[in-house]
Structure formats: structure tokens, C-alpha cells
């Protein structure tokens, strides 16, 4: 498996579960270790990233918002000056007229017509002019309608103009059915009386002023009165005299900007300013979403950056965590395997020492029995007086035979113990095989197991570790015995493959190994004999012993038919070992 793939599909999560063994699983929970490593590193990397992004998000959003508000505020402020200037010009003109002309001049209609004409020429849009006396009656009038003599005394604007000295009306259609407004100015006469000069002005010019304002496509400039009724035509929006959907904002002497969400519709940024001494409120409304479009682009960039950052961080963190945990896992596995090998060889060594001790202790009394019974036999054979007693001789013979058997056993125990230590020496394969079988020969006899040994005569004496060879064979034959039932066969054969290698096969006619288990049989702690005291170590030890001898082992098995282990061994294990190191 390539490394890159291994980073995301590590052995400790998806690997061979059975090799974990109960011991290893109890030592460390690798999944949890991996998860906490990933969580901790990911958190410590991603949290600052999130915090920075959050701060950046808010700062840039506020910056964009306040810039938008300020721009609106500037536009409103400038426009207000223009509108106020427009109205002030006209008011000042009227003011000039009442001061420049005596009342009798104004009542002189031809003169009044000249004034109207001049006003029209200077400012444009002035449609009529009239003089109203203190009783509210229009005493002189020049204009398209015959309004001379009309009584305004009961009208609201008349009372207002008396009160304030000047009056600017709302925009209304009037008789001409054209939107216009009225400016009226009061002039106090020296005798305590007064008269009022009143003109009508078309609002076309006001409309033009507002329409020609350079606003962003979704901006809208218009004037409302204090009732929220439109006084100018808002471009492509509500019509004149309609009530706008925005509530009338509170009175303020300065330019103000606020946000307002039209119920069920878009959010607007609204800038407004009260125009002094008039009922007008200048308002500029802009669609917030449109204004924030540049911000949306920035926001998308921020989120893409954040997402990309998180993906890179997570990828890195997961990769590194997996790599390290997997290394820990592999190291632990190696350690556990080594521990078990050490444990096992320690066990074998102490068994060896025990065997040697027992054999030694038994050998001395055995030697005495041997000599005594030998002497008895000698006496029987050499002295004529006992020579005839065949019964006694046969008794002595049987003692002698038993002693010889005991001697053979203790000698085997001793030689087994002697070869426990690792050392390479010339080995005769057939003798080793026979030696191992002699341990198990009795069991085979009891269980009626037939053992065939076939060692090809062309196998030379070769350099190997006799102790290890013995253990390997002992383990394999023991396994076969465990699988065999009464009357089974065990065939052990050896042949020379070439000048460098020999092949040993151990084949039994036992119960066989299921295909599912066969992949794992060389792994430590894999045992099918879990409930009958198997350690699951036998074959794994065998495997590593064969490796130490520079050989290989293979297995084929069929359930119900039997199992065959094939070992290939080098004829010079020592050289192989050195090359391996």
C-alpha cells in the first residue's frame, strides 16, 4: 500500500484485526488515541482561524456598511443644500419685491405683470403672483386665472403666514391640475397693517433637480411632506401624492441615515434631512442589498478562504495523526511480538534447565540401579550355581531394560536442554527428526497414529541450529498430533531442492484448517484452541525460528482431509543469517 493511502487507511483502524490480539487491544485504544490527536490539533489550528475570520468578517462588513451610510449622508446633505437654495432664492426674490415696491405699485396691475414677467425670466416656473390684504382678500392678481377678489381669510396657510411671516405650501395640483407649490410672504406696513405677496411655482424644476442626482441604479431621491406624502415624483417608483411605505422620521436639524426594512420587502438605507422653514423632508432611499454587493463578493472570498483553510488544516492534521499513531501501533506490535518471543524462549529455557536438573538427579541413582542389576546378571552368568535359574535372569533382564529406557529418556532430556542455546553446528537432519519423534513416539503409539519418515539420502550434513530445528519440528508435529484422530497418518519427508536448499514437509491427515483461519495461523495469539488451552504462539514462534534459520514456511490445508506444512531451509543457515543482518 503506498504511503499516501496508508495515511488515510492505516493498519490500526482497518488492518488485520486478529493480529491485535487481546493483549494489544487492552494496551492502547489506537482509535481513541487517533481521535484525540486529531481533535486537539485540529481544534488548536482551526479555532484561531475561525476567530480571525470572524473578526475580519465583522470589521469589513462594518466598514462597508458605514461607508455606505456616510455616502448616503453626504448625498443627502448636498442635495438638501441645493433644494434649500432653490426655495431660498425664490423666497428672497419675493422678499426683495415687497421691499423694493411700495404697496400701491404692487396693486398696479401692469406693474405686477412686469414683476411676474421678470420673475419668470429670472427663475422660471413662476406661474402667477397676487397681493392679499390683511382681511385675506386678494386685491391684485396676475396669472392664468381670474382670482382677484378671492377671500383666503379662512384658509390655513393665511393664518400661518400671519403667524410666521413666510409660508411655503405643500405641493398640490390646484386649478391648473399641475403640481405646484405656493410661497407667500408678509410685509408689515408702518401703520401696523400688513399685506401678503403670494406666488405659485411649478415643481418641475424641483423634480428635475432630484431626478438628475447621480445615484446608484437602485437609489431614489424624493421629497415628502410631514405626512409622508410624496411631493415630487420618485423615479420609477411611487407616484406623486402617494404615501411612501417608509414612516416619517423624527424631526432633526442634521442629516440622518437609518436602515429600514419594508415589511415583506427589501431593506433600505434611508438618508433624510428636514428642509428648514418648509414642510419638506428630503429623502434618499437606497436598496441595501445592492449597495452591499461588493461586500457580498468579499464575504464569499472570506468564506472560501476559511473553507479552504479548514480543509488544508484537517487534511494535514489527519495525515500527521494517522502517520504517528500508525507508527506507534507498529512499534507496539513489534514490541509485543518481541516480548512474547522472549517470554516463550525464557519459558523454553527454564523447561530446559528443569529437564536437565531432573535428568541429572535421576541419572545417578539410575546408574546405581544399572550397575547393581548388571552385577546380578554378571554373577548369574559367570557363576555356575545360578546359571540355570532362567526366571531370575529374565527378571534381572527386565530391570536392565527398564533402566536402559529411563537412561534413554534422560539422555534425550539432556540433549534437548543442551541445544537450547543458539549455536550453529553440523546437523544430521534424520537424527534430529528421529530425536523429536522419540519424544512423541509413545503418544503416537497410544493413539494409534502412524508416523512415516522419509529423508532423502542425498541430504548432506549441514550447518544449522539443532535446537531451533528441534523446536520447529516439535511444534509442527505437536500441531499435527492435535489435529489427528485415532488411526491418522503423519508423513514427514525431506529432500534436497538444489545445492543450497532442502525442503521438509510435515503432512497429516487431520481435521484441517478452515480457509478463513489459514491466513492468520502464523500470527501471534491466533489460536483455534482458545478454550482448550492453546496459547496461539506455537506457529508464530515456529515462523520466527524458521526465519532465524534463513528459511520459509508455507501451509496448505483442506478441512477434513489434512494439512501440509512445507519448510524450505538453506543448507548454510549461518551465512544466510549474516546476509540477513
Amino acid at each position: 500500500m503506498p504511503l499516501s493511502l496508508k495515511l488515510f487507511k492505516p493498519d490500526f483502524l482497518w488492518g488485520r484485526k486478529t493480529s491485535d490480539g487481546p493483549l494489544l487491544r487492552h494496551m492502547v485504544n489506537y482509535g481513541r488515541l487517533w481521535r484525540s490527536a486529531v481533535m486537539l490539533t485540529a481544534l488548536s489550528a482551526i479555532l484561531p482561524l475561525l476567530a480571525i475570520t470572524w473578526i475580519d468578517y465583522n470589521v469589513s462588513r462594518k466598514a462597508v456598511e458605514s461607508e455606505t451610510m456616510e455616502r448616503t449622508s453626504r448625498t443627502v446633505s448636498n442635495t438638501r443644500r441645493t433644494i434649500a437654495g432653490f426655495l431660498t432664492e425664490r423666497k428672497s426674490a419675493l422678499d426683495f419685491i415687497v421691499h423694493d415696491n411700495a404697496m400701491k405699485d404692487l396693486l398696479d396691475l401692469p406693474r405686477l405683470a412686469v414683476i411676474l414677467d421678470n420673475l419668470q425670466k429670472s427663475f422660471g416656473g413662476v406661474t402667477d403672483i397676487g397681493v392679499i390684504d390683511a382681511s385675506g382678500r386678494q386685491v391684485a392678481y396676475i396669472g392664468p386665472y381670474s382670482l382677484e377678489g378671492k377671500d383666503y381669510s379662512d384658509q390655513k396657510w393665511f393664518r400661518k403666514v400671519i403667524e410666521k411671516g413666510i409660508f411655503v405650501s405643500d405641493v398640490f395640483l390646484g386649478l391648473r391640475n399641475e403640481p405646484h407649490l405656493v410661497i407667500a410672504i408678509k410685509y408689515d406696513l408702518p401703520d401696523g397693517s400688513f399685506y401678503i405677496l403670494r406666488t405659485s411655482i411649478d415643481t418641475d424644476r424641483l423634480n428635475d433637480l432630484l431626478i438628475n442626482l447621480e445615484l446608484s441604479p437602485h437609489g431614489n431621491a424624493f421629497i415628502i411632506n410631514d405626512q409622508g406624502i410624496l411631493q415630487t415624483t420618485a423615479a420609477n417608483r411611487e407616484k406623486l401624492f402617494e404615501k411612501i411605505p417608509i414612516p416619517v422620521p423624527p424631526v432633526s436639524s442634521k442629516t440622518e441615515v437609518f436602515q429600514y426594512t419594508v415589511p415583506g420587502k427589501e431593506t433600505l438605507i434611508v438618508g433624510y434631512a428636514y428642509i428648514q422653514d418648509t414642510p419638506f423632508i428630503l429623502m434618499i432611499a437606497k436598496n441595501k442589498n445592492e449597495l452591499m454587493k461588493t461586500w457580498h463578493k468579499t464575504r464569499l472570498q472570506i468564506f472560501l478562504f476559511l473553507g479552504g483553510g479548514i480543509i488544508i488544516v484537517l487534511g494535514g492534521v489527519i495525515g500527521f495523526a494517522t502517520y504517528f499513531v500508525n507508527n506507534i501501533y507498529l512499534a507496539d506490535q513489534r514490541r509485543v511480538k518481541t516480548l512474547h518471543q522472549v517470554e516463550y524462549s525464557n519459558k523454553l529455557a527454564s523447561i530446559g534447565r528443569l529437564a536437565a536438573g531432573v535428568a541429572h538427579e535421576i541419572n545417578n541413582p539410575l546408574a546405581i540401579i544399572n550397575e547393581k542389576s548388571g552385577l546380578i546378571k554378571d554373577i548369574f552368568l559367570l557363576k555356575q550355581q545360578y546359571a540355570q535359574d532362567t526366571k531370575l535372569i529374565s527378571l534381572v533382564d527386565s530391570i536392565h531394560d527398564s533402566v536402559a529406557r529411563c537412561g534413554a529418556i534422560t539422555k534425550q532430556l539432556l540433549s534437548f536442554a543442551r541445544h537450547m542455546d543458539s549455536s550453529f553446528q553440523p546437523v544430521e537432519l534424520e537424527k534430529v527428526i528421529q530425536g523429536v519423534i522419540s519424544f512423541l513416539g509413545k503418544e503416537a503409539e497410544y493413539r494409534n497414529i502412524e508416523i512415516n519418515v522419509q529423508v532423502s539420502p542425498d541430504i548432506p550434513q549441514f550447518e544449522s541450529d539443532r535446537g531451533k530445528l528441534q523446536q520447529i519440528l516439535l511444534n509442527l508435529i505437536n500441531n499435527s498430533f492435535a489435529a489427528l484422530t485415532e488411526g491418522g497418518h503423519l508423513d514427514i519427508s525431506a529432500e534436497k531442492l538444489n545445492d543450497e536448499r532442502i525442503r521438509i514437509t510435515v503432512a497429516d491427515t487431520g481435521c484441517g484448517i478452515p480457509a478463513k483461519a489459514i491466513k492468520h495461523i502464523f500470527e501471534p495469539f491466533f489460536s483455534t484452541k482458545v478454550n482448550v488451552g492453546g496459547t496461539g504462539l506455537g506457529l508464530s514462534i515456529t515462523y520466527s525460528l524458521i526465519q532465524e534459520l534463513g528459511g520459509t514456511i508455507d501451509v496448505t490445508s483442506e478441512v477434513g482431509i489434512g494439512t501440509t506444512f512445507t519448510i524450505i531451509l538453506p543448507l548454510n543457515a549461518q551465512q544466510h543469517k549474516k546476509e540477513g543482518e
Partner: protein
């Protein structure tokens, strides 16, 4: 041909000596290295059969002492133990190295072999 048997197990060594003498081999026996030294001062032996492990002084050390007293003396080791070290040294130093319990005929064969060379 005179043989000395040295082994700390008296029952064993005495019986072995008797059996050898039944086969017309003159064999003396002692049960410790010290006695072996003493008796070696008084008589000459062609071959010694030594137990490798004995209290106070083992067979291998005794062999060196005896070799000084009787140069050219042949040795056969007997042992009930079987350490690797003993086995290697024993087979190198002595003519033969036999494991207890021994077969009397084996021993006689080895004695004859050793003395023949």
C-alpha cells in the same frame, strides 16, 4: 592394565569396579579427588574413569593433576549431567565421554579402544 575409577557415588563406583573385575579388568575405586591423588602416589594406572561432577574437585581438574603424576594416562569421563560446556570440553580433553547410566560393554569397548591407541 590397571584402571582407577573415581566417582562420588560409592554404590555406583564399587559395583562398577566389581563388574569390571569379574571381566578380568583390574579396577580400583575411590570416591573423591583427594583419595584419587593419594592412591595415584602409590600405584600406577593406565587409565582413569572420572566423574565430571564431584564435590570439592571435579573430574576435569583431577585429570590435570593426575596427568602431571602419570604423563600419558588415558581418561574416560562419566557424567550424569549434560551441559554444553562439559560436553564440548569433555569430548575434546578425554578419549571418551559417556553418559550415565552406562552400558558395561560400551565402557569396556571404550577402555580397550583408549588403551589400544
Amino acid at each position: 592394565m590397571r584402571i582407577l575409577l573415581v566417582d562420588d557415588e560409592e554404590e555406583f563406583v564399587a559395583t562398577l569396579a566389581e563388574r569390571l573385575s569379574l571381566r578380568d579388568i583390574e579396577a580400583d575405586w575411590v570416591t573423591s579427588a583427594r583419595e584419587a591423588e593419594k592412591i595415584a602416589d602409590t600405584r600406577h594406572y593406565d587409565l582413569v574413569v572420572l566423574d565430571v561432577k564431584m564435590p570439592h574437585m571435579g573430574g576435569r581438574q583431577l585429570k590435570q593433576l593426575l596427568e602431571k603424576k602419570m604423563p600419558g594416562i588415558k581418561t574416560i569421563y562419566l557424567t550424569g549431567h549434560g551441559s554444553e560446556e562439559d560436553y564440548k570440553a569433555g569430548s575434546a580433553e578425554a578419549e571418551y565421554y559417556l553418559m550415565k547410566p552406562i552400558n558395561i560393554n560400551d565402557l569396556i569397548d571404550k577402555i580397550n579402544d583408549a588403551l589400544a591407541t
